[in-house]
């Protein structure tokens, strides 16, 4: 009995010893992500986030990989992908799986403010940098302080609204528009936060909000809202909307002949589908975001995205997403090895050259942002912040619908 047990114990110990043998030398850099491939967030993630991850991985691997000085060789990227089905519990499980089971070196963030904020404590606990591009919240600075690995890249909602209010104030001073504004927003965190900030800013700047309503997400007929807005004879329409309603609002405005001097719609205006649907009719439509279409980096990026993915990228968050990945890559190269705390520090303090120009994070926030863009001559050009390098003058009044 004793001998049998001894042999058994010995066998187990031997097996354990063999299994816990030292890990093989690293052959590639493992990148993981949990992205919404199905569910309500799939539409947004498929435009702004997933294609950029794919373009970046391809670009890096085509160039031979990322150079790790400590090992003195270039390492290609190996991808582990999970579908979080637009569900925050699934996303958290996937992120934990990526860290603990797949043992990836870097985790790229999910799509949307909601999912990124839910993921933040987990990313922090696991020690991964979180370049939360598609997260937009006024509590960003506070959150970056709480979770140092978390960074925000599109600006605060207040900065986006400030850009819009500044644009309108300047136009009013120039006598191009009057003071009447119709403000509509989608009843979702994004719409509510933006419209709350806008209401305050516009009133302070002396504007008169003649129609102020919010509508449920998924509203399939924007006619009632727009006809009421039209009846108030505003000089400007500001709509903090999401892609389906952004298109619906533009469509309906065209049909009912509602053409205020400033026509501003929300997320989705920067999508290539917007230009695709309206063609010349998109001219003069303002929207959230923007990009400097004249930068050679942006031009190259649009072309490359089209080659690899088969369609053009959106003109707001897509270039920024790609730029954030360039920052990540440069940070890894500067640190020289997969040392996540060092990479986090480099991302927060370093200065980087990207397709959208120089990026240096301040308190975890990217300051190279666009707040307002306008379709001009087939490109969604950045209009505000007004003093930003590359900002173009807005075309006001908006040309008539075509």
């Amino acid at each position: 009995m004793h001998i049998k047990r001894l042999i058994a114990t010995g066998a187990v110990a031997l097996a354990a010893g063999l299994l816990s043998a030292p890990v093989q030398a690293q052959e590639s850099i493992k990148i993981g992500w949990s992205i919404s491939k199905t569910g309500p967030f799939a539409a947004g993630a498929s435009v702004t986030t997933l294609p950029n991850y794919q373009v970046w991985v391809k670009e890096v691997n085509d160039a031979g990989g990322i150079m790790l000085k400590s090992l003195n060789k270039k390492m290609k990227l190996e991808v582990v992908e999970y579908d979080d089905r637009s569900n925050s519990e699934e996303m958290i499980k996937a992120v934990e799986r990526l860290a603990e089971q797949d043992k990836v070196d870097i985790i790229l963030p999910p799509w949307s403010t909601g999912l990124n904020l839910a993921a933040a404590p987990v990313f922090h606990r696991l020690g991964y940098p979180q370049l939360a591009v598609t997260a937009n919240t006024n509590r960003a600075v506070e959150m970056s302080q709480r979770w140092p690995g978390l960074s925000f890249w599109l600006g605060l909602p207040s900065e986006l609204v400030d850009g819009l209010v500044d644009t309108l104030t300047k136009l009013q001073k120039e006598g191009k528009i009057g003071s009447k504004i119709a403000l509509i927003s989608v009843s979702d965190q994004f719409g509510i936060e933006q419209s709350t900030a806008a209401r305050e800013g516009l009133k302070k700047a002396g504007f008169d909000i003649v129609y102020d309503k919010s509508y449920p997400f998924g509203t399939q007929d924007m006619q009632p809202v727009l006809k009421e807005a039209q009846a108030a004879s505003p000089d400007s329409l500001i709509a903090f909307s999401y892609p389906p309603d952004t298109f619906g609002i533009t469509d309906t405005a065209k049909v009912i002949g509602f053409n205020p001097k400033v026509f501003f719609v929300g997320v989705g205006t920067a999508f290539p589908a917007f230009k695709g649907k309206y063609a010349a009719g998109a001219e003069g439509v303002m929207g959230i975001g923007g990009s400097n279409g004249n930068l050679p980096g942006v031009k190259w990026y649009i072309q490359r995205h089209k080659e690899i993915i088969g369609r053009e990228p959106d003109r707001w968050a897509s270039p920024v997403t790609y730029a954030s990945l360039q920052v990540l890559q440069q940070a890894i190269e500067r640190v020289g090895k997969i040392d996540r705390p060092a990479i986090i520090k480099e991302i927060s303090t370093g200065e980087f050259d990207t397709i959208i120009g120089k990026i240096k994070l301040v308190d975890g926030q990217n300051k190279n942002i666009w707040a307002v863009g306008q379709w001009q001559g087939g490109e969604f050009m950045g209009v505000a912040p007004l003093a930003k390098d590359g900002a173009v003058a807005p075309i006001v009044p908006k040309p008539s619908w075509q």
């Binding site: 539409a43 509203t219 007929d221 006619q223």
Partner: protein, 292 residues
């Protein structure tokens, strides 16, 4: 009273869209007794077909409509024969069939959605067709929505007349009311149910093509349509085409009235409140009747 007229007409047009996207489900649920959870996915699939016709082939989506309706009929007939007939055969009663069909069509939902995701990707798709203003009695409406409304009403009327005055229509009504007794009257219940299911699929395909002309859609949006169609179907009385049409129109008018006269934020609350009230007053729906 132009505001009232404006609200009435725009509301009817919106309601026409709701009715159009629900007519197929009332046939599938009411006659074939299949609670088709993948209903919305077929609507989206037809929308993608129209998108491809317009954007890919540069042809009018109405041509796509002519192609997709018989195609959808055949496809849904095949689905009924292959996937659902075994369930029908082994179901001992209506409730069992409902549960089984929910589970089976739930799986079918993911299959169809997965295929669309692979082919088209998850992003939003949209195009503009017949987005032309039309002036009716001083009210401006969009031609594509008006077309959807016209098709919904036409289908509703044709269905009503066919069900009332033709032999096949009466057979279908008999199957909807009581399949066991219908069988005793030498009605081929299986064939009638398969026909109703297939016809429901053809109708939803027509709906999908028409609404794709003005709505923005993505591969994952099918569930929203299934839910809305279910509300219309239950409110109108399961199995009753005129009921679905009336319920849809009523919902459209109520939603538009609340959005214009009250607050657009209350539209969801109003439509569900209407739903509740109708069911409290008439539990089987506006035109429904108790069935065995």
């Amino acid at each position: 009273m132009t505001l009232a007229l404006d609200i009435l007409l725009s509301g009817l047009i919106l309601g026409g869209m709701y009715a159009l996207t629900a007519l197929g489900l009332t046939l599938q649920y009411g006659v074939a007794r299949i609670m088709n959870l993948s209903y919305g996915e077929f609507l989206i699939a037809a929308a993608f077909f129209a998108y491809w016709t317009f954007v890919g082939l540069s042809m009018s989506p109405l041509i796509g409509l002519i192609v997709v309706v018989p195609l959808a009929f055949v496809l849904n007939w095949a689905i009924y024969q292959v996937l659902l007939t075994p369930l029908v055969r082994r179901a001992k009663n209506r409730d069992m069939l409902e549960v089984d069909s929910i589970l089976a069509t739930f799986g079918l939902l993911f299959v169809v959605q997965g295929v669309m995701l692979v082919i088209f990707g998850g992003q939003y798709h949209t195009y503009s067709y017949l987005s032309i203003p039309v002036n009716i009695a001083g009210v401006t409406l969009s031609l594509n929505r008006l077309l959807a409304f016209a098709v919904a009403v036409t289908i509703g009327l044709i269905a009503y007349l066919a069900l009332k005055h033709t032999r096949t229509g009466t057979a279908i009504r008999a199957v909807a009311v009581n399949p066991e007794s219908a069988q005793l009257s030498a009605i081929d219940v299986q064939a009638a149910a398969a026909f109703a299911f297939a016809l429901g699929g053809a109708l939803v395909a027509a709906g999908g093509v028409l609404v794709s002309m003005f709505l923005t859609f993505s591969a994952a949006m099918g569930v929203t349509f299934t839910m809305k169609a279910l509300i219309v179907v239950i409110m109108g009385g399961v199995g009753n085409m005129m009921g679905a049409l009336s319920a849809g129109l009523l919902l459209g008018v109520v939603e538009t009235s609340v959005a214009r006269l009250g607050d657009p934020g209350l539209t969801l609350a109003a439509t569900f409140a209407l739903f509740l009230i109708v069911l409290l007053v008439r539990p089987t729906g506006l035109f429904g009747r108790y069935t065995r």
